[in-house]
């Protein structure tokens, strides 16, 4: 049975292995320079990056994000559905192998190959991006930290969990819908929905987040959110480690209760010039922030510290694997009982 599964999978597997190898080679060639840069000093990383480095960073994110979805749609969805469409299930289900063993073997081999490929890819991309993740440039902004939703799902072991889930999801939808194409489309749609829902509503609470109260100053200010008239509506601050993932950010008044910004802030901001280029210490909105701080306003931040990266990774991987297990159980039941 393993032989048959592999015989049916090998062409697609070769394609993916080839693509992953190509990507790994590119990363292996360009990666060591970044490590050197980072060792020389984090501050310099940004100034000496080439545009190729930037492109590769974002390409790595896109590839690791896309491959699990594609594998789920192109390997998972047709796994059972194509057999049903071609009628070959009537050939293979009448060999001396039960349907359950047939499906279990197919599921196991396919998910294993997919998980290995994506695991290798994620490992390569994680290693390559490590010097850049969360790096802050003085003049040119920062790369997203590993815990932020932008990067988290494309680093570490989580992509392996996503891949297993995507493949099992595809197989299940294929078995239920009996149409490869419909199942592929729906697999992509459901997978994307899950990947949007989890970072929004589940991931922040997988590991208990930290709450901190941070003083408002030019150093800690992250952004000012404008209201309809262009005045300041609310402000956000950042923690000292740019790798932290900030989940909630709210202003507290002197009595420690959440409060809106005082009315005078609008006038204070309106007096400052629109454009300003210079060191943060000399920013024209600084007096506004100082006054805010002196009136007792502080900022409460709920965040996942960068150090929680691995606990959150493992928890999320376990979550996806558990969901995959449940889906696989349903798929086995469906194939044994309902497919005829």
């Amino acid at each position: 049975m393993i032989w048959l599964t592999w015989r049916q999978l090998r062409a697609q597997a070769a394609t993916v292995v080839l693509a992953v190898t190509a990507m790994a080679v590119v990363l292996a060639l360009t990666g060591p320079r970044l490590v050197e840069l980072a060792r020389a000093g984090a501050d310099e990383v940004f100034d000496r990056l080439t545009s190729t480095d930037g492109t590769l960073f974002w390409a790595g994110l896109v590839v690791v994000a896309a491959v699990p979805a594609l594998v789920g749609a192109f390997w998972g969805a047709p796994l059972v559905a194509r057999e049903l469409e071609a009628g070959t299930h009537r050939l293979v289900w009448n060999q001396s192998v039960t349907r359950t063993r047939w499906l279990l073997t197919k599921l196991a081999v396919t998910t294993a190959v997919a998980a290995l490929a994506v695991g290798a890819l994620s490992f390569a991309v994680t290693w390559w991006s490590d010097p850049l993740d969360g790096a802050v440039g003085h003049a040119r902004g920062s790369f997203p930290g590993v815990l932020t939703p932008v990067s988290f799902a494309m680093r570490g072991v989580a992509p392996v969990g996503y891949t297993v889930f995507a493949v099992v999801l595809g197989v299940t939808l294929g078995a239920v819908l009996r149409r490869s194409l419909t199942a592929m489309a729906l697999t992509l749609a459901v997978y994307v929905l899950v990947q949007l829902a989890v970072p929004l509503w589940v991931r922040p609470y997988l590991v208990a987040p930290t709450t901190a109260t941070i003083a408002i100053s030019a150093r800690t200010l992250d952004s000012v959110v404008a209201d309809d008239q262009g005045g300041p509506q609310s402000i956000t601050v950042h923690t000292t480690d740019r790798g932290d993932w900030i989940v909630a950010n709210e202003t507290l008044a002197a009595d420690g209760r959440p409060a809106a910004l005082p009315a005078w802030m609008s006038d204070c901001f309106a007096a400052a010039p629109d454009r300003f280029a210079g060191p943060i210490e000399a920013s024209p909105i600084n007096p506004c922030l100082e006054r805010l701080a002196s009136e007792g306003y502080t900022q409460r931040v709920v965040y996942q510290p960068a150090g929680n990266f691995w606990p959150v990774q493992l928890a999320e991987t376990a979550l996806y694997l558990a969901a995959s297990g449940l889906l696989a159980g349903f798929c086995l039941w469906w194939t044994r009982r309902r497919l005829s």
């Binding site: 015989r7 009628g87 050939l91 009448n94 060999q95 001396s96 005829s340």
Partner: protein, 304 residues
């Protein structure tokens, strides 16, 4: 000896339609049984139930003494050549033989190899490029090399041209003679089965209309031709299966254990095809007495 297939009040429903209902049958082992019926009569449903691809809605079915497809041992006992003989289009003939060898503990390597050799095909060829007849032969080789106790073939020759049809049945018959296996095959073309079957089951409108040994059936059925008359005054032991009247003449098919004594009848022997057709033409109400209003004789597919 256990029956090859034994069913008891077997029924299968697809949503609202009963594809097979109240089917109680004993198909003997060691025989070649033909399953005859029009398209949609329930032949495929019965065979798929026997192969374990379908589950019964009502009743039970036992194949070679066990419930179909319950475990690997049961699966090994039954070979199934599905309708349209599906194969993996992207895999070669050699791959299919390897598939058979890997998935069947009782696989007969030399048998499979010699059958494929006789087809005169390149083993490296992808099966997607084979003709219907070649694919059917490959499917048959796979079914036989598995060394099953019972081989089920669902409309194996339906899509073949007359030459391929004859050749396929020939190979099947040779194998039956060599391997001592039970065979159940279905067809909507009676003449295909006439040459190969020694047992026949006729399905009409999802129900078993007739089942029996071919020889015994032929011995007990006669065609009577004579001057026009009604069938009311027929002797009690003569059951009228079908009747045809012209202005002057009446033609009957009757079933009787004894001889036909009335000298006004000209008695002729029936062929299996005519016998089966006369049962298929019979309105359902006449046989079952349920009076469901089916009267018009169902039209049979014209034979080539």
């Amino acid at each position: 000896m256990t029956a090859a297939i034994a069913t008891d009040a077997l029924g299968k429903r697809y949503r609202r339609r009963w594809a097979l209902s109240d089917c109680t049958l004993d198909i003997p082992a060691g025989r070649v049984t033909g399953l005859v019926g029009q398209n949609g009569a329930g032949k495929s449903t019965l065979l798929n139930l026997a192969a374990g691809l379908l589950r019964p809605t009502t009743g039970t079915i036992e194949v070679c003494g066990g419930r179909p497809a319950t475990d690997a041992a049961q699966l090994a006992k039954v070979g199934f050549v599905a309708q349209d003989t599906p194969t993996y289009a992207g895999l070669s003939i050699r791959d299919h033989l390897r598939l058979g060898a890997r998935l069947n503990p009782g696989w007969d390597e030399s048998l499979a190899a010699s059958r494929v050799e006789r087809l005169g095909l390149d083993p490296g060829q992808k099966t997607g490029r084979l003709s219907g007849g070649q694919r059917a032969q490959l499917a048959l080789a796979l079914g036989l090399a598995k060394r099953p106790e019972l081989l089920i073939l669902d409309e194996p020759v339906a899509s073949l041209d007359p030459f391929a049809r004859r050749e396929f049945l020939q190979v099947l018959m040779e194998a039956v003679a060599e391997q001592e296996l039970s065979v159940v095959l279905s067809s909507h073309v009676v003449s295909d089965l006439e040459r190969v079957c020694d047992h026949v089951v006729v399905l009409v409108d999802s129900q078993v209309r007739l089942a029996g040994e071919v020889e015994a059936l032929l011995d007990t059925h006669h065609r009577l031709t004579g001057p026009r008359r009604t069938t009311r005054e027929m002797p009690r032991d003569q059951q009228v299966v079908s009747e045809r009247h012209t202005d002057r003449q009446t033609t009957l098919v009757v079933r009787t254990e004894g001889p036909v004594l009335d000298p006004s009848w000209t008695v002729t022997q029936l062929g299996l095809e005519d016998l089966v057709l006369s049962y298929m033409e019979l309105p359902t109400s006449d046989l079952t007495g349920r009076g469901d209003g089916t009267t018009g004789a169902p039209s049979l597919e014209v034979l080539k």
